[in-house]
């Protein structure tokens, strides 16, 4: 990778840099004109120079051939111009000025936009190139880098370069030309002043790099510190568990604080130096003015110089400071950016990357593996150069199931890693179908070989996207950078900047990840079979059951779910469920729900009807008044409070019992006591309003099954049912849909799928009931053929950041599912599924082994480094490894005696 920033910029934006320079030059005359015209307007039409008589005219737009006055005595006119009188001249000049202003503005707009686009697209290229290299880092190297440092380099460190790219060449050339012109004029006016100025400029050019040395070092240090900061922050965030477990948040604070202090110290010194350099520059350039005035003035006074020459010199000098300051600033920026760039690309450039050919996308149809692996004399060493595999030779066919058995230090796992290309052999050769493994494109092995170990990392997103993520990529990607100096072909992407920023850049609809209709019908059976063999089907089905259907959910699904609800309710065959579920029946009081839930008997869609807001809900209070329930609920609430006070009143404040029962807090008990005193002998109409609300809240939150205070008798239940009906009628007549009522005949979109089928509450007293209910529901879904539909809904379950919503066993099963989903020719299981219980794990491995075998012939080769010691019957061959080499290799029967020994 190119280490020099300017060379990098020139290589990748040469033509654009030249174009920008041409446009800047073209803009110059307009700029000049814009400055010139006001002078002409003031001098000419306004101050009447050249319009001394009312009839006088002056030429407008006269064009003369330049420099002709030097060769002949008079100018050669190409066009004499239009003769205009004073008022017309004023109008014409003013309009010209307006045009010049507009044109100049347009040039500025164009140049700035162009520079911005150039900077951004070059920045895009640089970032892409850096990421391209990350993708091509050898696995061993990438495991050593800190993720947040890499992202900090690619995202933040190169960002400021974008602003510099556009100015990299045009600015110095342009400013240099200006400065040179200024100098030339000055020399022409007065050689002595010219020489003095040149001397000062040369002195500046000499002193500034010296002052800057420290500045550059500080710049480097600042960048390193910032990178370290993001690395450390990333580590702390990732390892936050341990920070809390060991109570060392303050060590983290100290650590980060120290880095921040370092950054502040560096930056402060940087500012001091930077502004000091600026001060020196400004001072030196202004020093010239001082010399001009003092020396020139003295010479004029003493009569050795005439006034006109001095004024002309000072006028010529006036144009110098700006461009010189500009050049110095530009140079400063160049140096800082050069450092930034160098530091950013340093690591990337130094790391050996895998060759272009291994990752380049091809149109070639990928061929199936015919024979399999052949390993000869493989030796692999660990990080301390100790051999972990020694002289390993074996042939592993795609038509067999091989178990590579061995303990943790046997080298079996490393063999699997070598086969999966995660580990590089120090010596020996590995071929796949006779081709050196190193020369085979990753897309070939990636698609034809499945690999799963027990390390899991998921980026997050849905299960569906996680599954699709590792399927072969079929879209168009930006090119792999073949040779950094030649520049890959990015011309296709030149016009990306013209696309509206509002448009999502979907890279390809054909790709499974971005394709909403994936998996299609053709792929579906395969996905199902993989999910069933990895035992993920049930997990995903349960995820699906716990989701709600979108309000626009398919009507046929809703109808099927309603059918399932009826079937479940009528299912008398499930004897043990009798009474375990209390169904939602609008005509019955549900004891598993609180009084408040029984009243609204539905899911609140408006916060007004949330349980905590019910005591102040006007509609609800109105209904209670109409049904004469206010005083009864008031009494019930008081009874709840009395029971609580009686139960917990004598307990000490720090009582564990009080805390453990989840009952009211000691403060609440005290408040209840006071409230009972205040409302003693009062009714709902005479008690203070606040107390009424509190008491009603207690009543609404009361559930007989939870508290068993015996507050709820049959009569009250009947009245509550009346109120429930009244509330539904009232809301119905108002057209108010704040509550999604529980109607046995209707699908309730705000309930989860399983709640829609269950349509009731499981009796909390029955510990084993939940599993039995779940199984009964699954059976019904299976029979009604809607279980797959719900499974499909479950596929959109969000697995959470890094897959944290999955259990470890689910995550490990998902890893195996990904390896199988691409229909590989061979699958490598490297201590996969280690978190599962042995029975389930063995069953899954058995299924995978039989999955690859059709009509007695093995279609999918399996190489398994098992977690369990046996059974071996499913395998064609067992290789036992000890101390990095093979101790026996043969059929399970042949190896059995030896395996017994090694196990004992």
């Amino acid at each position: 990778m190119e280490r020099n920033l300017l060379k990098y910029i020139w290589r990748h934006s040469r033509s654009k840099q030249i174009w920008i320079f041409i446009v800047v030059l073209a803009a110059m005359p307009v700029y000049f004109l814009m400055l010139q015209l006001p002078k002409l307007i003031v001098n000419g039409p306004i101050q009447a120079v050249g319009f001394e008589t009312p009839e006088a005219t002056q030429p407008f737009l006269s064009i003369s051939l330049p420099f002709t006055q030097y060769f002949t005595d008079q100018q050669i006119m190409l066009f004499d111009g239009f003769q205009l009188q004073r008022p017309s001249m004023l109008v014409v000049l003013c309009i010209s000025f307006l045009l010049a202003v507009a044109l100049n503005g347009w040039f500025k707009l164009y140049i700035n936009t162009y520079k911005g686009k150039l900077g951004e697209s070059l920045l895009r290229r640089l970032r892409y190139e850096l990421f391209d290299r990350v993708l091509r880092y050898p696995i061993g190297k990438i495991r050593q880098v800190k993720p947040s440092e890499i992202s900090s380099v690619i995202k933040d460190e190169v960002e400021p370069l974008g602003e510099f790219f556009g100015d990299a060449f045009s600015a110095p050339v342009f400013l240099g030309a200006q400065a040179l012109t200024g100098m030339t004029f000055l020399f022409l006016q007065n050689t002595m002043f010219g020489a003095i100025t040149l001397g000062i400029v040369v002195f500046q050019a000499w002193i500034i790099p010296r002052l800057r040395r420290r500045l550059l070092e500080l710049g480097r240090r600042r960048q390193r510190a910032a990178r370290r900061l993001s690395g450390r922050i990333g580590e702390y965030v990732q390892g936050m568990d341990d920070v809390h477990l060991h109570g060392v948040t303050n060590r983290a604070r100290a650590n980060i604080w120290n880095i921040l202090r370092g950054i502040l110290a560096t930056r402060f010194e940087l500012y001091q130096r930077k502004f000091f350099v600026k001060f020196i520059n400004n001072f030196l350039i202004q020093l010239l003015a001082f010399i001009f005035y003092l020396l020139g003035g003295y010479l004029v006074i003493t009569g050795r110089m005439d006034l006109g020459a001095l004024v002309a010199s000072i006028a010529a000098y006036k144009d110098l400071p700006a461009p010189i300051k500009g050049i110095i600033d530009w140079d400063q920026q160049r140096l800082m950016n050069q450092i930034r760039y160098e530091q950013a690309v340093e690591d990337f450039a130094e790391t050996e990357i895998v060759p272009y050919e291994r990752q380049v996308a091809t149109d070639q149809v990928l061929s199936n593996i015919q024979d399999g692996y052949k390993l000869s004399n493989i030796t692999v060493v660990d990080s301390s150069d100790q051999p972990v595999i020694e002289s390993f030779s074996a042939t592993l066919s795609r038509h067999e199931a091989v178990a590579i058995v061995g303990g943790n230090d046997s080298g079996a796992e490393q063999v699997a890693e070598v086969l999966g290309r995660l580990l590089h052999a120090r010596s020996g050769s590995i071929t796949l179908d006779g081709n050196d493994l190193d020369n085979i494109a990753e897309s070939q092995t990636g698609q034809r070989i499945g690999y799963a170990d027990s390390n899991v990392f998921y980026a997050g997103g849905s299960i569906k996207a996680t599954l699709a993520e590792t399927l072969p990529f079929v879209g168009n990607a930006a090119p792999v950078i073949k040779n950094a100096s030649s520049g890959a072909d990015f011309s296709n992407y030149e016009n990306d900047a013209m696309v509206s920023a509002d448009v999502d850049m979907i890279y390809d609809v054909d790709d499974p990840v971005s394709n909403p209709s994936w998996p299609d019908d053709a792929f579906w059976p395969h996905l199902l079979s993989v999910m069933r063999s990895t035992r993920l089907y049930n997990d995903v089905l349960e995820f699906g059951l716990l989701r709600t259907l979108d309000s626009e959910g398919d009507e046929t699904i809703k109808a099927s779910l309603l059918e399932a609800r009826r079937e479940f309710a009528d299912d008398k065959s499930i004897d043990e469920l009798s009474g375990a579920v209390e169904f939602f029946d609008p005509e019955k009081y549900n004891h598993q729900l609180t009084i408040g839930e029984n009243l609204i008997f539905g899911t609140p869609l408006d916060a007004q009807f949330n349980p905590e807001n019910l005591p102040s809900n006007k509609t609800m209070l109105g209904v209670l008044k109409q049904t004469d329930l206010m005083s009864q609920l008031f009494d019930a609430g008081r009874e709840v409070a009395e029971n609580n006070v009686e139960l917990f009143g004598d307990l000490t404040e720090d009582s564990m019992l009080l805390q453990r029962t989840g009952g009211p807090s000691p403060e609440q008990i005290v408040a209840m006591k006071q409230m009972l005193d205040r409302t003693s002998g009062k009714t709902v109409t005479t008690a203070p309003a606040n107390d009424v609300t509190t008491i009603l809240a207690l009543a609404f939150g009361y559930s007989e099954t939870q508290s068993r205070f015996g507050v709820l008798d049959e009569a009250l239940q009947t009245q509550l049912l009346n109120a429930r009906k009244k509330l539904a009628e009232t809301l119905g007549s108002q057209g108010n849909d704040s509550v999604a009522f529980l109607d046995p005949a209707r699908f309730n979109p705000s309930l989860t799928i399983i709640d829609n089928i269950l349509f009731g509450r499981i009796d909390a007293r029955r510990t084993g009931a939940r599993d039995r209910v779940l199984n009964a529901i699954k059976k019904i879904l299976e029979e009604r053929n809607i279980s797959e539909t719900i499974f499909r809904i479950g596929l959109s379950y969000d697995i959470g950041v890094a897959g944290r919503n999955l259990t470890t066993s689910q995550a490990q099963k998902l890893k195996v599912a990904r390896a199988l989903l691409k229909k590989p020719d061979m699958v490598i299981l490297n201590r996969a599924l280690s978190a599962l219980d042995p029975v389930e794990r063995k069953a899954i491995i058995h299924d995978i082994l039989s999955l690859g075998s059709k009509d007695g012939k093995r279609q999918m080769g399996v190489i398994c480094v098992p977690v369990d010691h046996g059974p071996w019957d499913d395998f064609d061959r067992v290789i036992l490894m000890e101390g990095g080499s093979i101790s026996i290799d043969g059929t399970p029967e042949q190896v059995a005696p030896r395996l017994e020994m090694s196990n004992a």
């Binding site: 139960l647 004598d650 019992l657 453990r660 068993r708 205070f709 009796d763 029955r766 084993g768």
Partner: protein, 154 residues
């Protein structure tokens, strides 16, 4: 569904709690959870590490002991019987298994709640000690009987 009052009345009939103050009994009942087991469902297995005592509200529970690889029913408890209290008071695995015969409703009394109750109301502890001592006395006299009959049969 039983209310707290019913539960208190039932606890009162259990010897262990018979002389405990009614308000404390109510607290015991409140901290207990109601559980329902279906016919044949195990409440706990022998050797498991349970820490709860159970009081039968309704139904019957079979006490099982393993003998020759088979589960043998050695006793059947009915309404108001307390079982599992040994593991609830001392840290030993379940000495026998318990299975529901027909639908069984129980009150589950958790060890930490019982212990906390004893801690906060020492008079409960006195009752517990009294009851346990009574049981020890009766077990000792049972043992003496067994030894006597063994001697006579020898």
């Amino acid at each position: 569904m039983s209310t707290l009052k019913d539960d208190v009345a039932m606890l009162r009939r259990v010897a262990l709690f018979s002389s405990v103050d009614p308000s404390k009994l109510k607290l015991i009942a409140y901290t207990a959870s109601q559980r329902v087991f279906e016919d044949g469902e195990m409440v706990f297995a022998k050797g498991s590490n349970g820490t709860s005592a159970y009081l039968i509200v309704r139904g019957e529970a079979e006490i099982l002991v393993e003998s020759g690889g088979k589960q043998v029913v050695v006793a059947v408890h009915g309404r108001n019987a307390l079982f599992g209290e040994i593991s609830a008071f001392c840290d030993v695995p379940r000495t026998a298994g318990v299975r529901a015969r027909g639908q069984l409703s129980v009150l589950e009394l958790k060890r930490e709640n019982l212990m906390e109750l004893i801690h906060e109301f020492p008079e409960v502890a006195v009752e517990v000690i009294r009851e346990l001592a009574r049981r020890l006395a009766s077990t000792t006299s049972d043992l003496a009987h067994v030894l006597d009959s063994k001697e006579t049969s020898d």
